[in-house]
Amino acid sequence: MAINWFKYSAPTTFYGLAGKLIPVFAWPAAILFAIGLYIGFFVAPTDAVQSEAYRIMFIHVPASILSMFVYLIMAGYAALGLIFKTRLSSMMAQALAPTGALFAFISLWTGALWGKPMWGAWWVWDARLTSELILLFLYLGFIALQASIDDPRRADKASALLAIVGSVNVPIIYFSVKWWNTLHQGSTIKFSGTSMHISMQQAMFAVLVACWLYAIAVSLARVRSIILEREANTQWVNDLPEVRSVER
């Protein structure tokens, strides 16, 4: 079966495809989130050193990973939009930014609530924490820059440059615990294996996949609105059944 993938790079066709894909990602996200939390709270044993406080890990680590990955994907889409002038790529970058910002916020928030009982401080100006805070500011800068320029195509160009330059921060966050002496601990999960209990790994993995699927679903839902906003004066948008009917 031959599928013309280029067909879906046009907002016209992608709008419908995205609408169909949202539940495909949203439902597994909700189910995996529930499974992950169940394992994380009812199956995973109490930690010998951190007692029950370590359970913050099951949301803190996935949110932190997502905040970095979503940024790279956002910068990638922004770059595609800049180089190939594809409208949909820029719209995808715009749709991903709020989700990435929220994951960065969750990472910092849960980190503070974990740091207080373990380190005795909500916040320290450690390399890992500071670079993650910069990531949140980069997301906010991207959103603000996009919103401050009236012409959407010019806004795409300016914000794409910010996103591309800012992506240098992502490896800094990732390697910060190796490059500098940080209060933040190093990676528990390495390519060479991990010391974590199997149920802890399962819980974290389930929540991580759930966060991935959630990010995809919510970004697809957002990009549909962005398409409607940007293509407001086109015939195909006017012909959509949800626009023609009064309520849907």
């Binding site: 939390l37 406080a53 949301i59 609530l113 974990w114 409607l228 906003e229 006017n238 009917s245």
Partner: protein, 61 residues
């Protein structure tokens, strides 16, 4: 383990539930914002259509 013991989290209740509570709240708010944005976009599109006198209201609800 009983429920009150579960919610007590061995003294870390504030930190653990503060983390998960805010994370879930953030997800809920984001979903509400995305839905609101869609409704707003559709409302404005219908407004444009009505102002332009485009009488293509073929399917009435």
């Amino acid at each position: 383990m009983n429920w009150s013991e579960f919610f007590y989290m061995n003294g870390y209740a504030f930190y653990v539930w503060g983390s998960y509570g805010v994370a879930l709240l953030v997800f809920a708010v984001e979903i509400a914002m995305v839905r609101h944005r869609r409704q707003k976009a559709l409302r404005e599109l219908r407004l444009i259509r009505d102002e332009m006198g485009d009488d293509r209201t073929g399917e009435t609800a």
